[in-house]
Symmetry: C2
Subunit: 167 residues, 2 copies
DNA sequence: GCCATTTGGTTGTTGCGACAACCATTGCAC
DNA sequence: GTGCAATGGTTGTCGCAACAACCAAATGGC
């Protein structure tokens, strides 16, 4: 009945428990800083950041969804809210009448620039500056390996290369 | 005005982007497997697992909250649902009338045992087996360092040592 | 012994994410 | 050019998490 489950040894368990705690706490930490300082979710910020780097600060919804590893449905809701707040605008794509383009407004652009420094500082404080340079390199490799399991399609995509802060 | 923000270099950015994707996708992967196979959230499962390891399968709400890195408010809601489903029962603590104890029911115990193998398999498939033994060790160190930034109080607590699967 | 504070916990509201249903456009078969 | 599937996107509903407000019991000062 119970087919041979390969349990975790102590070393593996130690790694997993700590990772589990990180994925529980880190999103909350990022969200709360951005929400407090910029009235933005981390995901909101990510969406704005991706648009800010795109040509003409514009992307098709589908492309934006890929960049942010989100479903179209989720993105649609988020962009709707951002549009209400005047940070983003949507307009139908001329080449494909099914498609919708999302463009960062001037106000949205300002918002990203305001929010970026605080966000980077938080990322530094909670992650990057906690690690040695070797660990940062190791982390890139580890996270990449995990991503190949979680999302084989996109793991090699350019999106993972491009999360720039606007400078 | 804009005080010197230390931006991320390419190596750091690569690590961060990948980590950001992981903390976005991994919780969803864990949740969906457990929800599908056991009608449980990952957090639900964690709560039950912690109780299953406690003496008499019983813990004070406050202690349980610490073990699961959750707020008392969140835990209260979750335990309420689990109680409705008959997996957990609550009763006032004899020694401190303010306090509430949560105890795993027999049904809850069975549920954990049923759910554990599938969960461990998922953890293996998406994380552990994607990494070399050296990377697993590195991951433990990295996650631990991050936890010390996110939650200095609890980073050294025994809880991080104890996420056993029931065997 | 009494009042203030702290501790332990619950509840109500609000907002976001997941999922499924749905509509419109496009591409393809023939 | 008609029929059908695939693509692109939106919307509605439901469940959960965050936050704040709240209540009860316990502790400490004096």
């Amino acid at each position: 009945m119970t087919v041979d489950t390969r349990w975790l040894d102590n070393q593996q368990k130690a790694a997993w428990v700590r990772l589990a705690a990180v994925i529980e706490l880190l999103p909350a930490a990022l969200d709360s800083q951005l929400r407090r300082d910029a009235q933005l979710t981390h995901f909101d910020y990510f969406v704005l950041a991706m648009l800010s780097e795109a040509p003409a600060r514009t992307l098709r919804m589908t492309a934006l969804a890929e960049h942010t590893t989100a479903t179209l449905a989720r993105l649609s809701h988020v962009v709707q809210r951002l549009e209400t707040r005047g940070l983003v605008e949507r307009f139908p794509c001329p080449e494909d009448k099914r498609a919708t383009n999302a463009r960062l407004t001037e106000e949205g652009w300002k918002k990203v620039q305001e929010a970026a420094p605080g966000h980077v500082t938080t990322v530094r404080e909670s992650v990057i500056d906690a690690l040695s340079p070797e660990q940062v390199e190791q982390l890139a490799g580890i996270a990449d390996a995990i991503l190949h399991r979680l999302d084989p399609e996109r793991a090699r995509a350019a999106v993972y290369e491009r999360y720039d802060e606007p400078g």
